[in-house]
């Protein structure tokens, strides 16, 4: 029964010697059944014993992610692990085959990864350097070509003139060529600038030289220049030429230009002064460029090979090496995180944990196994003890079917330890309530078929990596929801807004009027399709669905209240049982149970021919409260007097229940608190005496007492709390019952939507018939199917799902569910590794 109530937990202390901590933890984590308790959550993780190891693992993971990033940059695919178990097995083998202590495997991995990381960085740097060099060469090439284009051929002619000795070539840097033309000297400055800086550069040059220069800028239309530091983005560059007067003694402009170039981080390039040299340098640059490109290619292929190393798929684990390393590190980190919950005292680690009952033997066996395997190592020691502090965690074992429903409950709150788990009941009620709202034979069937498909072809879908993969996890839920929607569709006899006449309607047309075939005949299953053809169809269906909704709601909620009683019995909380559960149940049955009774009773009476004599259930209920004891007219049975007295009795019983809920509980609670206080005082005096005798008093005891003191409440608080609870229950029983009307409202909305779509898209085509009708149907059908899929099969499913969720969380669970537990977190390698593998998808 460990799905109805949490598994029984036992609190255990574990003492492990420090030297065998890794081995023991390793084997415990493989057991998948331990919840380790942090010895003191207020101690920051940094100050824990093994934080250093965790840090190491983190660092290595960062390095691995760097490598992974590089791999992705080269568009190589990593084979991710599909089955974590294989990897776990592989690690086991690895560790067994090693001669050294198992925990030192991390050291090996660390050295290995660090070495490879360094190599990789070196490669990357090398590559970057080469790219840089290539960029420079390309730039230089364009400086030459564009420079020539800007300056024109005549530049070299005069430059040749220079070579003949008439001109004075100044400056040690060859990029500044000074010319003498007549008496004015001109200097040339040719280089490359980022395209985006173009205008700014122009402006600044203009300002600084006060317009005394001539400059021209040309964009480089080559896209090979790459920014290696920024994701290999293309860089756009421009070549500029500045011609400025200078030479002689005035170096002011030269200096300023220098400074500006520096501040724009402009590289200087050689620009030759004559044609022969120009050709020479251009040739040189071209050959350099080819060389660099070759070198670059070589380095790249080296890098390729290097990265391929990380991608080799080992045959044991069926995934790339990098993935294997990553998972190992994650596993190792997890192990140390769990070990950090232990406290170091002397040379041993002290920890505590929650174990599902009966698992002790398994753990003991595992501990023994460690000892057997490593002769020299001292073994851990398991010791059951009394739990300290918090209550035990809640642990349910789930399977594929119950998992989804348990998640629905857990999202609201984890059940308190040993409380009735609403998850189990949700498995049945949730799909049913959904089905009531989504009731439609056609749509339900679609959902049912989807569920069936997912369930049957489960494995194929998983392997095929299809879009439906993510719905697999809720396949059972879909199947059940589909089934109940289908079933309720039959009850309401609604096939996408058209009723089916499968069993033969019990009415027939006789002289333009519907008449029953014979007096007692009843339509075999669901609603007679003839209702579709009458004018009061909607009124009838609504009243029917509304009543059904209220009946279901009252049953569901009474069930919730009964669960509260079961909880009270289980916890032996007789106060709750007698002064909360019993009066609440009686109140609920006498008020809303009575209403249900009236509805059903009314259904059993044949009102044929005297429909105006039928009393309205709502009026009956209102009069029951507003005019108690008065004769009921028109009566449901008899002359109305016996009915009136029954009603009065019901009302009285319900009213009496209210003070029973309200008053006794706080009194008892207060009494209990008082008694406790007295005991504490008595203990205190005893303790004082004890303390005088023995200075080192029991610390634990005093902590316990201080905790009890925190719980201390005065009568006012207790009473106000109970008043709130009572009001909540009373008002809640009314509003919650009303809330169940959503079962009708959503079903109505669904039906009406379906009808509108049918009328708009198909009806016209069907009724007009002939060729035109056929064409209209072809178009109409495509619209109809799309809209049915989008609105009804997607949106309405979602809506009904949410409302079913609400009915469970608010209306049902509020009757009994405390939801203040916390979940059992089992220490498991498989869990963390799986989580990581799922991230890759």
């Amino acid at each position: 029964m460990n799905f109805f109530r949490s598994k029984t937990m036992s609190f255990q202390k574990l003492i492990i010697p420090r030297e065998s901590a890794w081995d023991i933890m390793n084997i415990l984590a493989e057991q998948d059944c331990i919840h380790f308790v942090d010895f003191d959550p207020s101690v920051p993780m940094i100050n824990r014993l093994f934080s250093n190891h965790i840090k190491r693992c983190d660092d290595l993971l960062i390095k691995l992610s760097f490598i992974e990033h590089e791999i992705k940059k080269y568009q190589k695919t990593i084979t991710y692990s599909k089955d974590v178990n294989l990897i776990v097995q592989n690690f086991k083998l690895l560790i067994r085959d090693r001669s050294k202590a198992s925990q030192t495997y991390l050291d090996n991995v660390e050295i290995d990864i660090e070495k490879k990381h360094l190599q990789l960085i070196e490669q990357v740097n090398n590559l970057e350097y080469l790219y840089e060099k290539r960029n420079k060469l390309i730039e230089h090439k364009y400086v030459m070509i564009k420079g020539q284009a800007i300056l024109g051929k005549s530049f070299f002619q005069t430059a040749n003139y220079v070579a003949e000795g008439f001109m004075n070539i100044q400056g040690k840097q060859l990029d500044y060529i000074k010319l003498l033309q007549g008496s004015i000297k001109f200097n040339y400055l040719v280089s490359v600038i980022n395209k985006e800086d173009k205008i700014r550069f122009k402006r600044i040059i203009f300002r600084i030289t006060k317009g005394n220069v001539w400059m021209n800028i040309m964009d480089i239309d080559n896209y090979e220049i790459i920014d290696t530091t920024n994701n290999n983005l293309r860089l756009l560059k421009s070549v500029f030429v500045v011609v400025y007067p200078g030479g002689g003694g005035s170096n002011l402009i030269t200096n300023k230009l220098h400074k500006i170039c520096e501040s724009f981080q402009i590289t200087k390039y050689k620009f030759p002064e004559n044609n022969i040299k120009f050709q020479e340098i251009l040739k040189q640059v071209e050959t350099d460029l080819v060389e660099t490109k070759n070198l670059l290619q070589m380095t790249q292929s080296q890098m390729d090979a290097y990265l391929d190393d990380f991608l080799s798929v080992s045959h044991n684990s069926k995934c790339s090496e990098i993935e294997e390393l990553k998972l190992f590190l994650i596993r190792e980190k997890y192990l140390y995180t769990q070990l950090n919950y232990f406290q170091l005292q002397g040379s041993a680690l002290y920890g505590s944990m929650w174990l599902p009952e009966g698992m002790e033997i398994k753990i003991e066996k595992a501990l023994k196994e460690v000892q057997n395997k490593n002769e020299g190592l001292p073994a851990g020691y398991l010791q059951s003890s009394l739990p300290q502090g918090s209550s035990p965690p809640t642990y349910f074992e789930t399977n594929e079917i119950t998992w989804g429903f348990q998640e629905i409950v857990n999202t609201y709150g984890i059940p308190r330890y040993k409380e009735i788990n609403p998850g189990l009941l949700t498995v049945m009620t949730f799909p049913f309530l959904f089905g009531v709202m989504f009731a439609d034979i056609g749509h339900g069937l679609c959902l049912l078929l989807l569920g069936l498909y997912l369930c049957i072809y489960n494995q194929d879908i998983k392997n095929a990596n299809s879009v439906l993969k993510h719905t697999l996890i809720v396949r059972h839920m879909l199947l059940m929801m589909g089934f109940w929607a289908f079933y309720n569709g039959w009850i309401y006899n609604d096939f996408m807004s058209v009723p089916l006449n499968l069993f033969g309607s019990q009415n027939e047309i006789n002289q333009y009027k519907w008449v029953l075939k014979d007096e007692s005949c009843v339509y075999s299953f669901g609603i007679d399709p003839v209702w579709m053809c009458v004018t009061n169809e909607l009124t009838f269906i609504n009243s029917y669905k509304m009543k059904l909704a209220v009946i279901i709601g009252v049953i569901h909620m009474s069930f919730g209240i009964i669960l509260k009683g079961l909880n009270a019995i289980y916890f032996k909380n007789w106060l709750d049982f007698f002064f909360e559960f019993i009066p609440q149940l009686i109140f609920f049955i006498c008020s809303f149970g009575w209403m249900d009774f009236l509805i059903i009773y009314k259904w059993f009476i044949n009102w044929t021919g005297r429909t105006d004599e039928a009393p309205s259930v709502i009026t009956l209920m209102i009069n029951m409260i507003l005019a108690p004891g008065q004769q009921v007219i028109p009566p449901l049975w008899g002359d109305g007097i016996s009915e009136a007295s029954t009603q009065t009795a019901m009302l009285l019983i319900a009213l009496i229940c209210i003070p029973i809920i309200l008053i006794p509980k706080p009194l008892f609670l207060y009494h209990r608190v008082k008694k406790q206080e007295k005991e504490i005082q008595k203990n205190q005096t005893q303790k004082d005496l004890y303390r005088e005798l023995n200075q080192e008093s029991n610390l634990q005891e005093s902590i316990k007492i201080s905790k009890q003191e925190i719980h201390h409440e005065d009568f006012g608080d207790i009473f106000v709390h109970q008043v709130i609870e009572t009001i909540e229950f009373l008002l809640g029983s009314i509003s919650n019952t009303a809330s169940y009307l959503r079962l009708w409202a959503l079903s109505l909305a669904h039906g009406q939507l379906a009808e509108v779509f049918f009328q708009m898209c198909l009806n016209g085509g069907i009724s007009s018939g002939g060729f035109v009708g056929a064409i209209r149907l072809v178009f109409g059908y495509s619209v109809f199917s799309l809209i049915t899929f989008g609105v009804l099969m997607m949106m309405d499913v979602m809506e009904c799902f949410l409302h079913a969720l609400r009915l469970h969380w608010v209306e049902f669970q509020s009757k009994f569910f405390k939801a203040d537990g916390y979940a059992f977190q089992k220490c498991s390698y498989l869990k963390v590794m799986k989580e990581n593998v799922d991230l890759n998808e």
């Binding site: 920051p44 993780m45 940094i46 840090k55 960062i62 800086d197 700014r200 402006r203 600044i204 300002r207 600084i208 300023k256 400074k259 500006i260 520096e262 501040s263 724009f264 981080q265």
Partner: protein
């Protein structure tokens, strides 16, 4: 009315900022930070907070200057993101906020160049919030020729306007028949700190006008109030720092300098102007500002500036007192709804947080005893609200 339409344009940006509220370090986290024994420990602690990503790549022994740079980078990134998400007035407003950092950067560059510090170091120390492309070109500054610096580089930067006004004012203040030499002398003697204060004063006044003219009433209400206080604090600071300052030897010089540096907005201006301009001791300053709000209380605890030499780490300086009071105001403004004050406050409070972290990092790296009063000298954003 403007509350109804605030969300239309600025709702998203505001929502982001509100989300970032969760990234502030809590008092408990500060406590844990104080318990760190070394810089690597502090770093690994910060890696567990919102600062995780910006520190991960660095080595554990991170120098405080780099630490500061990283933290500021993160703030700048966040701010840039919000700026990118903003439209219309908000974009203009956020840009105005950044100008303050640009002024700091420019003045730092000028100062660094004057002291012949390498340009690479200077560039790496730039506050990323106040980065603009021309900042690199300040390098062309020669000697003390600020006017050509303005003409060549700063003229079309956002802070060019302030710089021009500053130059004009400084030159105007010289006597009638000034010569080129006089101007050169003026610039040579001018301290970068002086430039900073006057630029910031102009920025504050300009920002004030911007808020007054362009923002919606709710934002105005919050921001003008904050800016007034900020202006008042600036005024008090200027007066306070000029008391007993040796460089300002004559009374007339003090008053002209003060007049130039004190903002012409705020609660103190113009009512108390005459009084505070002439305050030559702490007591007279206290007397001058007594009319306004809680300024007297603030100044009550301030140490006497005439005994400046006796100050040490333990002294709670005027700056500390003011940070504390400002922090309270910004936290309040942050929690206000539907105003641009939240962006301003966020920036200020994050700056305070960074200051705190850096301060603690300094304390830790100097290995000061845990009972040293310096440990208490941090102001935790939002800690004022709980009380």
């Amino acid at each position: 009315m403007d509350l109804c339409v605030f969300g239309v344009d600025d709702g998203y940006a505001e929502a982001i900022i509100r989300g970032l509220r969760a990234s502030f370090l809590t008092e408990a986290q500060y406590q844990q930070m104080k318990n760190c024994a070394s810089i690597p420990e502090l770093k690994s602690f910060l890696e567990e907070t919102d600062y995780q990503n910006c520190l991960q790549a660095d080595n554990p022994q991170i120098p405080t200057s780099i630490l500061r740079q990283r933290l500021k980078k993160k703030l700048a990134d966040e701010f840039e993101y919000i700026e990118a998400q903003s439209t219309g007035t908000l974009t203009k407003y956020l840009f105005h906020l950044r100008c303050r950092f640009m002024i700091d950067n420019v003045v730092n560059m000028i100062e660094g160049l004057k002291n012949k510090i390498d340009i690479e170091i200077l560039l790496s120390n730039i506050d990323p919030l106040g980065w603009f492309p021309e900042i690199k070109n300040i390098k062309v500054l020669e000697g003390d020729d600020y006017s050509s610096l303005y003409r060549d580089v700063l003229i079309d930067t956002p802070i060019g306007v302030y710089f021009m006004k500053f130059l004009e004012e400084s030159i105007e203040n010289l006597h009638e028949n000034r010569t080129l030499n006089d101007i050169q002398n003026l610039f040579r003697e001018m301290k970068p700190e002086y430039i900073r204060t006057s630029l910031k004063k102009m920025w504050l006044e300009d920002f004030y006008v911007f808020c007054e003219q362009e923002l919606m009433p709710t934002s105005q209400e919050v921001l003008l109030e904050l800016l007034k206080f900020e202006a008042d604090f600036k005024t008090i600071q200027v007066i306070y720092n000029s008391i007993g300052n040796r460089d300002l030897n004559t009374a007339a010089k003090i008053i002209t300098t003060r007049k130039q540096l004190c903002p012409t907005i705020g609660n103190l201006y113009p009512d108390c102007e005459k009084m505070y301009l002439q305050a030559m001791t702490l007591d007279t300053l206290r007397e001058a500002v007594k009319g306004c709000d809680n300024y007297r209380d603030l100044l009550k605890d301030a140490p006497d500036p005439l005994k400046r030499e006796e100050f040490n780490v333990q002294t709670k300086t005027l700056d500390d007192i003011m940070y504390d009071d400002e922090c309270r105001r910004y936290a309040l403004a942050f929690d206000g709804q539907g105003s641009y004050g939240v962006f301003y406050s966020y920036l200020k409070l994050k700056e305070q947080e960074i200051r705190n972290i850096i301060w603690l990092a300094e304390m830790i790296s100097r290995k000061l005893a845990k009972n040293h009063p310096g440990w208490k000298k941090i102001i935790i954003p939002f800690s004022h609200l709980g009380k």
